[in-house]
Symmetry: C2
Subunit: 339 residues, 2 copies
């Protein structure tokens, strides 16, 4: 005798999903200011943007994940960190346009709905949304047996923000001699983990709980440090002296991302001695025998966000490092690497 | 002698990613009207929404994937269909709020960047965005070796739209006797595939290329029919007679989704003989021995979108089926199933 089939017998637990949505309700609402509109229909989130303050409001939108950094997570605290990474990777991508984050949504896919782990992700997402001053307006958690195993998780995020068209940064105004300002990264952030794991865990055969000279925490904890959220610092720079172009240093690394923000006929020279490079980068390079150009085209090398500013106004800037200047001709020069 | 490590040696082909982004450029731009703003910074997409036409503009936003339907795709045409599913699942979720889709972004994650397959997805996404009158404003394609095998793909989508606060549907105005209008689904759409596969492929041991009595195409092609996009029909209903509440019939099925749009003290009775139920649903129920309530709490049962309308105004409505009415007391009654 075969039992009647059900959605639950097919591996999908709708009741657990309902309990999860119930449990995260207060966490999600902790990110909601007055702008979020309650509506009895739960098909989509609703928010009232503050347009009247803008002459010509534009919406900026982006989506991103956290790559293979998910493979390093085993404990709830690690998943909370991944939630933070997910928000950071998206809201930081709005900032080069001068856009103020407004809303965020997360998509989580798992093989089995494991409430403890998923709630940790949402806690991290919500804390990061509060720091970025954007509402966690919704999300989707998909239980997909036959696609993911019990431990696997996929995470994608989406952020939208607002910018007044009159205040869009204009890279055409960049001139040789302009100052390159930067904000330090907290470590690898969420890029280059396929290479980092290959170098350190495969070739180096290090364990994640190893302590190594120069690292302040275990190797695993060093790699897992969440991505910095630059919203306050970038919006403050925009309000004070403004910037002509900016880059969130993600895939493509410091070389690729710094090059992408420039007109083709201009380059930047960054002085590697102008800031402290976290030791994890030199460790990856040494253990993996990774060439300097490859390192700087994959990792942020210690700088998570870069902006081009009028050199005569940098005296008014607080909290940013002056790491280099704009030069004639294309290319990014980093002392030990260039492209 | 060990070779120096590189990002490519770690399984990530940055050059292939650049070629892919280049190749899909014209496809993506085919969805861009005048509202999309070109900016030399490529960190996020920019769009100018038509706010001046609205007194109190709200942004509606949602995200969703296509679940385990991805497991049925093997050919480019199937992936094109999945791209269409991804857009449909998101833009249709904006419609119950009366929101007009404005922008869409896609997140694709794969083990190996396979341009033919991914371009097919983007073609489907772009065609669906054109049909939904929204811009494909950006996207992320993540190559994640060690997470996905060569054949696997994960897809998540994100859509945002606009609605004037004064025109939000108000479920508090629903009265017993109101008409339930519906739009037919094209088949399973993108929900319930874990159960459908379990019933048909495991228990029934059918092959996807089987032809079965009652099905107009092979079993695989019947299951893969892309999700309908309801934007034009719902916005036309909104313009003509309006609606008091609406539901996109997705996870939770016809029973769950129809119940979710109603105040707790009201229900709906849907006449199962008022529309033609695609035979695939009866096939799943028979082969999987799935109870009627479980079927209707998992699948759309042939109705992809439902709206509650003033019964005296339904004479003016074109292209919608009148399938039932609002009744006193909670619950959804479907003739053969209820909740």
């Amino acid at each position: 005798v075969t039992e009647p089939l059900s959605y639950e017998a097919a591996g999908v637990d709708a009741a657990a999903a309902e309990r999860f949505v119930e449990a995260i309700g207060p966490i999600v609402r902790s990110t909601h200011g007055d702008a979020v509109i309650a509506h009895p229909s739960h098909f989509a989130g609703l928010i009232r943007p503050d347009f009247p303050a803008m002459g010509d409001p534009l919406i900026a939108a982006t989506c991103d994940g956290v790559g293979t950094k998910v493979l390093l997570a085993t404990e709830p605290a690690h998943y909370e960190g991944l939630g933070r990474d997910l928000v950071a990777m998206n809201v930081n991508d709005l900032l080069p346009l001068g856009a103020r984050p407004l809303l965020f949504l997360d998509y989580l896919a798992v093989g089995k709905l494991d409430a403890e782990r998923l709630e940790a992700v949402v806690r991290g997402v919500a804390a990061a949304c509060r720091e970025a001053h954007c509402a966690l307006l919704g999300g989707e958690t998909a239980e997909m047996p036959d696609v993911y195993s019990g431990e696997e998780i996929e995470m994608a995020g989406f952020a939208a923000g607002l910018v007044d068209a009159a205040r869009l940064p204009d890279p055409a105004t960049i001139r040789p001699g302009d100052a390159v300002l930067a904000l330090p990264s907290t470590g690898l952030h969420s890029n280059g983990f396929s290479l980092a794991r290959k170098a350190l865990l495969d070739r180096g055969a290090f364990h994640l709980d190893t302590t190594l000279p120069g690292l302040e925490a275990t190797l695993g904890d060093t790699l897992r440090i969440p991505t910095a959220i630059y919203v306050d610092q970038v919006l403050a720079l925009l309000e004070s002296v403004g910037f002509k172009a900016a880059a969130h240093i993600t895939g493509g690394g410091l070389l690729g991302r710094a090059a992408a923000m420039l007109p083709v006929d201009l380059g930047v020279r960054i002085d590697p001695n102008s800031y402290a490079r976290p030791p994890i980068f030199d460790l990856i390079a040494a253990v993996g025998d990774v060439e300097p150009d490859e390192m700087a085209a994959t990792f942020n090398m210690g700088l998570g966000f870069v902006a081009i500013v009028d050199p005569e106004r940098t005296a008014d800037v607080e909290g940013w490092l002056r790491v280099g200047e704009v030069i004639e001709g294309g290319g990014v020069y980093l002392g030990y690497a260039s492209r």
